[in-house]
Structure formats: structure tokens, C-alpha cells
Amino acid sequence: MTGEFEISVRDWVAANLPDALVNVPIGMYGVDSEDPQVVEAFELWRQRLAAQGWGAPTWPQEYGGAGLTDTQAKVISRIIAEAGSMNPIPYLAGMGVTMVGPTLLEYGTPEQKSRHLPGMASGEVRWCLGLSEPNAGSDLASLSMSAELDDEGWVLNGQKTWTSGADKSQWCGALVRTDRSAAKRDGISFLLLEMDQAGIETRPIRLIAGESPFCETFFSNARARKDDLLGELNDGWSVVKRLLQHERQSQTNAPATRSAATPVQDVAKRYLGTNPDGTLTDPDLRSRLADHLMDTAAHELTIARIMTDARGGNVEVSATASILKNSATDVAQGRSELLLEIMGNQGLGWEPGEYTQEEALAVREWLGGKSMSIYGGSYEVQKNIISKNILGLPETTQKG
């Protein structure tokens, strides 16, 4: 049954989504086009969404939102998608709409909310997050970047890394040490600060697969306003824990971005050819390919089963997240390695030209995909979680 709300959204989208933008890909930094007409349409679309409060539809209207429910927000997303576009504001705001904003809504003072949230909700201010440091990755609490208060506010010194979009952001939410004498987690605070100042330098991180949104960010007597402390002094650990929950939430909500890929067996048949009986010419590869496809099917059937069971109230979905994270990794990395093997010496090109787009893409995905078992809780961490939290094996004195 189509509700009144849905009809009104559909009408609004029909009236306000510029034709020039329909089915044009939109990325992290805006529309992927140089055509002035498209660029203009994109800006118009952003302004209209922002005016409607739909950049962050669940936020209060006073902070640039529309005061809607999660369900209504999902209806908006779906209808815009059906119309062939998307809401670009969460991308344009970097970590603003998805992570910093929700945390601000809970921990911020009224003044902080009024000052920061509207810029996120309109997509005009991009935010990054300064959390990890070279010696504080999985073990975030061992961070060492410092913030000290002087008469004019906070003075920040230190280094952050894996700061996504730091070189393109106007603001940053940073986790800093404000009390060296306290136990690790107890001397940490969360500060908001402007990126465009003399004391901050960003250096993009190049990855093995090429360019990336990540930066190393250096702070040398950088400054934050005294009243841009979010939450209590030395209670930044609570703030960041909540923030990371919002991160997991946003990952779950994120639409799958990769388009349905060509079945790997079709690629194999194309590159290797088949015998008269239709089997691949390389029987050794054929067996391993069948193995891979069966592992893939088992992984997908497990997702389907867990979703069915969750609807039936049979299991807690979270208990199986670690299994699925690792099997998703196995399947994706396994597929990439097989693709490379199938493409042979054509699967080893760094750029198209002498290599096809498909070949070059396979290589980049292979390299980029190595991160799947590292980020978001490494392969080893997931096994620890399964062993401890699901199987109830005793905690060891070791973590890893």
C-alpha cells in the first residue's frame, strides 16, 4: 500500500530532480562529469534537497534536517534511486552526516549543534575524522596526539593517519590526549577543529592499488576553539565508542556499490576456451573454480538463511557477522586471485591501453581487495571474536 508520504515524496522528486542528472554517476566528491550543464544541475539538486531538509532527513529541522523517521528516510532514498539518482549530501559532508553529526546530536551543546549541523546537512561543509595514529590502529586507546589548553584555546600536536578525505575537508573531529597522567582510555578527549589553518598539513596516502582517499595528517601547534570540545573533558572514549557505532550502522545501511560482476566461469571460458564437451581446457583450474563457486554459493546461502532466521526471530544477526565478514573476504579475494590466474599475463597490467578495461580493473580490485581482511576488524580479530564470543572459549591473555 503506497502511503500519503510516499506519494508526496514521489511528486517532489518528479518536480525537483533535474533531468540532466538522471542516471549520471555521483561519487564521493560530487558528480563525475565536466559538462557545465550537469554540474549546474547537480548544484541545483543539492540546494533543493538541503532546503527540504533531506540532506539529513532524520535530523531536527532547526539543524537543517526534516525531523523524519528512519523509515521515511529510507522511502526517500528508495524513491530517489528509482528516479535514477541519489542524495549526494552524505557523500559531500564526508564523515559529517553519517558519523560526526549523529554524535554531535547526542553529545553536543545547543551552540555546537547550531554552529555545525546545518553545514553538514546542506552538504556545504565536509568533515573528516582524526582517529588512528601510526602506533594506534586496532589499539586506538594508545594514541598520543596531544591537546593542551592555553588562553586562546586548544593547541594540538601530533599525527593522525588513515584520515579519509582530510585533504578535502573543512572540519575535523579528532581524538586527542588531554591527560597523560591518566590511564590510557581515561585521558582522551574529542575535539572539533577547522582544517584550513597553518598548523595542519595533509599528505595523501598512496595505496598498493593506487590513489586513495586516505591521508596522513600532521598537527603542529594547530588550534581548536575552547568550546569545540565535544562531550566532557577526558571522556572522549565514550564519544568515540558511540561514533564507531554510528560507523557500523552506516556500513550496514550503505547500498552495495559494486555492480553485479561477470560470472568468473564466463571469464574463464572466454580466456581459456573449452573442450568439445564444454568443459574448460584447464581441468586443474576448473576444479578450483568449482570449489570457489561452491564456497560462494555457501556464503550467499548463509546470508539468505540468516536473514530468514532473523525475520523469524531465531538468531541474533550480530553473532554471525564475524563469520560472514571472513567468508565474504575469502570469496572476494579468492575470486580476484582466480581472475588474475585466468587472465594470465594479461591479468598483470597496471593501466588499460595494452590491457582491456576489464583486465586493468581486475588487477586494481585484486590489490584493493587485500584490505578486506585488514580493515573493519582483521581476519584474525574476527576469528578471535568467533572463538571467544560465539564459541565461548576462554579469553586468553593474548589478543591478536
Binding site: 574448460l280 576444479s287 568449482a290 563457486l293 555457501a298 548463509t302 538463511r305 576469528k383
Partner: protein, 378 residues
């Protein structure tokens, strides 16, 4: 666990409680040690019959309950957990399925009620060599008078000594290797010319070698269409493979539970061995395999009940993935238990031995990997 109906939940819970209480692995061990030559305890199977399990795949008109394969798989999983020996798989599933899919009403009328009440044990006699290769069927059935004369041999026939009837895959035309020319015959096990020999398999279950010397059957013994037995045989085999996969899931899951329990209780150097990270990670890997195996088995059982057209793929998938889990798990069961795992007194060896029998039945992993690739058209 799939979302079950109330009835399915009831049957699963009943089966779980019953096998632990009435037909646990200790009871199988006692049977083995008795050296009675029996592959199962008749009273065990009778109890199953009394609970109505033998009729789960039989239409109501023949006295069954027709509850479907998912329900049947739930029971098989519990039987697999305790290595409960019975002709439930061979007759209540395979025999009943073959009659349901290929039998005419006279054949169904004659045998399905017996399958339900336990008086008939109808099994499939298929393999002729050391490997599963149905299309290589060579046992010759030559037309003779108003029927056929069967000559040849069958081996690795599950519950072959206890069977009252065999469904014999036979060659009525063509050459071994041809899919066409295979026909199924329903033959009483005591027919003149049949010699049965018990095979002393490592799982101490009933497996038999049958030799056929001029065994005469009437035309009415033909199950299905002459020369066109292969498609229906494959359909029967797929249901058998899926049922086996459910049993294997139970066997491997029990091995997992035993191992997990040991990891939590066995101490070495003053620590519970499950706190050793390397063992914890291996347990985590086994658990993941178990969850994924379950997904494949349930999807396959449901696909049969739904009449889906990807039953063959799912059958090979389930047999292969659970096969991988059972292979690894049965070895881990021994390895993690160490010295105690090597003793016959402990149950690990029973699970390991049964595991390899199940792996070899109706196509091993290599067979199904190849078949899956073929079905996926590469």
C-alpha cells in the same frame, strides 16, 4: 536452522531427544561390539516406525504422512549426530523416493505401505565398481519370456543384507557409459539366483555385495520406463545425496560439539587448551564451515520440497560442502583429542570411520565438484 513449521520443530526436537535417549552412539557401539552381524537393532528401527518416521516421504493414501524432505532431513541430522544405525536413509528415504518417483500405482500399492510399517526394506542396488558412476551400469538385464534375466553384480549396497527388496539399476541396451539403456527393476532380495555377502566395512554398518546369476523377474518388476531409467535414477540420487548431506551435517556437528567441549575442559600445563589461540582459531574455522554447511543442506532440502529446478546443483553443493566440513572435522576430532582420540574406547574413531563411508557414498567431493562444474556449464 531454517524457519520451521510448528510440526517440523516438534519432530526435530522429538528426534533430538529420542536419539540421545534411546539410540545414542553407545548403543551403536554395543551393537558393533556384539558382533551379531546385524547392521542395526531391529527394535531401534521399530521405534522409528512407531513414531511414523518411515512414512515421512510416503503419500497419505499409502499410510504415510508425506511431510517432505526438510522434515526427513531434520531427522537424518539427528541420526547422524549419534551414528544411529537403521535403514531409515536407505529405505524410508531412498526406497520410498524411488517408488514415489518411478513406481506405478501397483508397485506403490505393493510396497509403500510396507515401507511405512517397517515390513518392507527397499534399497537401491547401484554401484558395481569401487567408484560412484551410475552411467557405467553394466549389470545385464536381458529380455527373456515375459520378463528379464539379470546377470552381474552390485556392491556397497547400503542395508543390503537387511533389505527385503532391491531396486536394481540394470543395463537393458547400449554400453556401460551410455546414459540411455539403463532400466530399474524391483527385485525381492530372496529371488532365486541372488547371492548376498556382507561387507565388513569400517563403519560396522550393513553394506552388502550382491551377485545376480540368471535372476528372473517379470515385466511388472520394471520400475519406470525401459531404457530410460537414468533421469529418474538421477532424481532419486539427488534426493539421496541431499539426505546424506543432512546426516553428514549431524555427524560433523556432533564431532564439532565433542571437540568444543574438550577444548573447554581439557587442561594442559595448567590451562584449558581452548585458550590456546591457534586452537581457538581452528575451532572458529570449523564453526564457520558448519554454519555454511547447514545453509547448503537446508537450501537443498527446501528446494526438493519446493520442486525447484536447481535441485541437482544444490545436491552436489550440499554433498561437497558438508563433505569438506566432515572431512576436516573428523580429522580435527582426533587431532585435538590427542592420544585419547586414538583409542577405540573413545568415540572419535567411530565418527572418523563413518565419515569416510558417507564421503564415498553416492559420489565423493571430486565427483560432485566435477558435476557442479558441468551443471554450471563450464
Amino acid at each position: 536452522m531454517a524457519v520451521l513449521t510448528e510440526e517440523q520443530t516438534l519432530i526435530r526436537d522429538q528426534a533430538s531427544a529420542w536419539v540421545i535417549d534411546k539410540a545414542p552412539v553407545s548403543s551403536f557401539r554395543a551393537l558393533r561390539d556384539s558382533e551379531s552381524g546385524q547392521g542395526f537393532q531391529p527394535e531401534t528401527f521399530q521405534a522409528m516406525v512407531d513414531m511414523g518416521w518411515s512414512g515421512i516421504l510416503v503419500p497419505e493414501q499409502y499410510g504415510g504422512s508425506d511431510l517432505g524432505y526438510l522434515t526427513c532431513g531434520l531427522i537424518l541430522e539427528q541420526l547422524g549426530r549419534q551414528l544411529t544405525a537403521s535403514p531409515f536413509f536407505a529405505s524410508s528415504l531412498v526406497g520410498a523416493t524411488a517408488l514415489a518417483l518411478a513406481g506405478n500405482s501397483a508397485q506403490q500399492e505393493a510396497l509403500l505401505p510396507g515401507i511405512v510399517d517397517g515390513s518392507a526394506i527397499v534399497v537401491l542396488a547401484l554401484e558395481e565398481s569401487s567408484r560412484h558412476q551410475p552411467e557405467q551400469t553394466a549389470l545385464q538385464a536381458d529380455q527373456e519370456g515375459d520378463g528379464f534375466a539379470l546377470n552381474g553384480s552390485k556392491t556397497f549396497v547400503a542395508e543390503g543384507m537387511a533389505a527385503t527388496h532391491c531396486i536394481v539399476a540394470s543395463r537393458t541396451s547400449g554400453e556401460p557409459g551410455d546414459a540411455r539403456g539403463i532400466s530399474l527393476f524391483l527385485v525381492p532380495s530372496d529371488a532365486q539366483g541372488i547371492t548376498r555377502t556382507a561387507l565388513p566395512t569400517i563403519d560396522s554398518r550393513d553394506h552388502a555385495k550382491l551377485s545376480f546369476s540368471n535372476v528372473h523377474v517379470d515385466n511388472s518388476a520394471l520400475l519406470g520406463t525401459l531404457d530410460e531409467g537414468m533421469p529418474v535414477l538421477e532424481a532419486v540420487l539427488d534426493r539421496a545425496r541431499i539426505g546424506l548431506a543432512a546426516e553428514m551435517l549431524g555427524t560433523a556437528s556432533q564431532a564439532f560439539d565433542m571437540t568444543l567441549e574438550y577444548l573447554k575442559t581439557r587442561q594442559q600445563f595448567g590451562k584449558v587448551i581452548g585458550s590456546f589461540q591457534a586452537l581457538g582459531h581452528r575451532a572458529a574455522e570449523m564453526y564457520s564451515l558448519m554454519e555454511q554447511s547447514r545453509s547448503c543442506v537446508e537450501a537443498a532440502l527446501q528446494a526438493v520440497d519446493a520442486g525447484a529446478d536447481n535441485v541437482p546443483q544444490l545436491a552436489s553443493l550440499a554433498k561437497c560442502q558438508v563433505g569438506k566440513f566432515l572431512f576436516k572435522m573428523s580429522n580435527e576430532l582426533i587431532q585435538i583429542h590427542g592420544g585419547i582420540g586414538m583409542t577405540d574406547e573413545f568415540d572419535a574413531g567411530l565418527y572418523l570411520k563413518r565419515a569416510r563411508i558417507l564421503e564415498a557414498s553416492f559420489g565423493n567431493r571430486a565427483y560432485h565438484r566435477d558435476r557442479y562444474a558441468t551443471l554450471m556449464d563450464f
